[in-house]
């Protein structure tokens, strides 16, 4: 994580993670578009063309950062598959997702929120977190569910994002964001479950 440049040659993997680390720092500070490959390269004591040995292009660096979250999503998916579908499962799933959020992960979430055009392109090729979420959401809603119920389930699992984005520009810290995310997840889970059961009643009378 150090900025100092070792005079000796770097090894491949190490250089790669140094690039990612510096890039995350710049992307958060100045934004992706306003960070030039030159900024990143110079901070590491190399030229910008060297970056192109490790990454296909600038966007590839951003995507690599964003995809660091995938492992935890897969773990959540795996855990969820083995759980029985009880009424409070949605709330427990949301809390589990919040629990495994580290400060580094929050920074990556900020990055994702700030670069939605790129997230959109990732979404089109099915490589984004949101697509991974879909599998989880499908556990809770089906084709008969109303749009409202589907949206409420998604929002229940997305309270970290909401809390994070509401906290932007304030002095509210990491733990308070997570605490509020937990509280709102519980409240929204109740709404979602209620919407779903009202869908069910609706369908019976059809």
């Amino acid at each position: 994580m150090s900025n100092s440049i070792s005079p000796e040659r770097r090894s491949g993997e190490e250089t790669r993670s140094q690039i990612l680390s510096i890039a995350l720092k710049f992307f958060i500070e100045k934004g992706y578009e306003r960070t030039s490959t030159r900024d990143i390269a110079e901070a590491l004591g190399m030229t910008k063309s060297s970056l192109y040995y490790h990454f296909r292009n600038k966007e590839d660096i951003l995507i690599s950062l964003i995809q660091l979250r995938h492992t935890q999503l897969e773990e959540l998916q795996e855990w969820l598959e083995n759980q029985p579908l009880v009424p409070d499962l949605l709330e427990r799933t949301a809390h589990r997702w919040i629990e495994c959020t580290t400060p580094e992960r929050l920074q990556v979430m900020i990055l994702s929120q700030a670069n939605q055009p790129i997230m959109l392109r990732l979404h089109e090729t099915g490589q984004d977190i949101r697509t991974g979420f879909q599998a989880i959401i499908d556990r809770f809603v089906d084709n008969n569910s109303s749009a409202e119920a589907r949206l409420l389930v998604r929002m229940t699992l997305d309270t970290i994002s909401s809390a994070l984005s509401a906290s932007r520009g304030t002095d509210i810290d990491f733990y308070e964001v997570l605490s509020v995310a937990r509280q709102t997840a519980s409240a929204l889970a109740k709404l979602a479950v209620r919407a779903k059961s009202s869908d069910h009643r609706q369908n019976l009378t059809d």
Copy 2:
């Protein structure tokens, strides 16, 4: 709002709003960074340098679009000043804010969410919506309030954003987003009021 280009000379204000209208369309479709000034200019049958007569730079176009929302925020502020501080005022304020949201406003919200580095810079100079929100939030919380209570109030007023961002990439429509925003605003308002009164009890025992 028409795309067709009139052969005769345009008048100043008219050209300006034509530029804004086309720019909004491109920024939503392709994103701000991937829209070139050339795209905008050619769609209007002019050259890119002509744009610089009407706007200082490309960012100025985006900022002008985003600030179209300000009027409604001021109206909300004015209304709120004349309301007595009763327990359900937060919920009613949130609903009122949701009620005055048009489809065009939602598009501008998508723009704001997608361009957070620019929003951040606007925030630093106090020109953004979030700063305007602060005055409203101050009506509900004071310096004694916990960070959690402050964040919950902010989230209560921000449910359109949350619902909108959760609906991205789905086929959920405008009215469903607003309906869910209303439901979650009511649930969050209750959490916020509860957090505030628990702060109060806390302060009494200090």
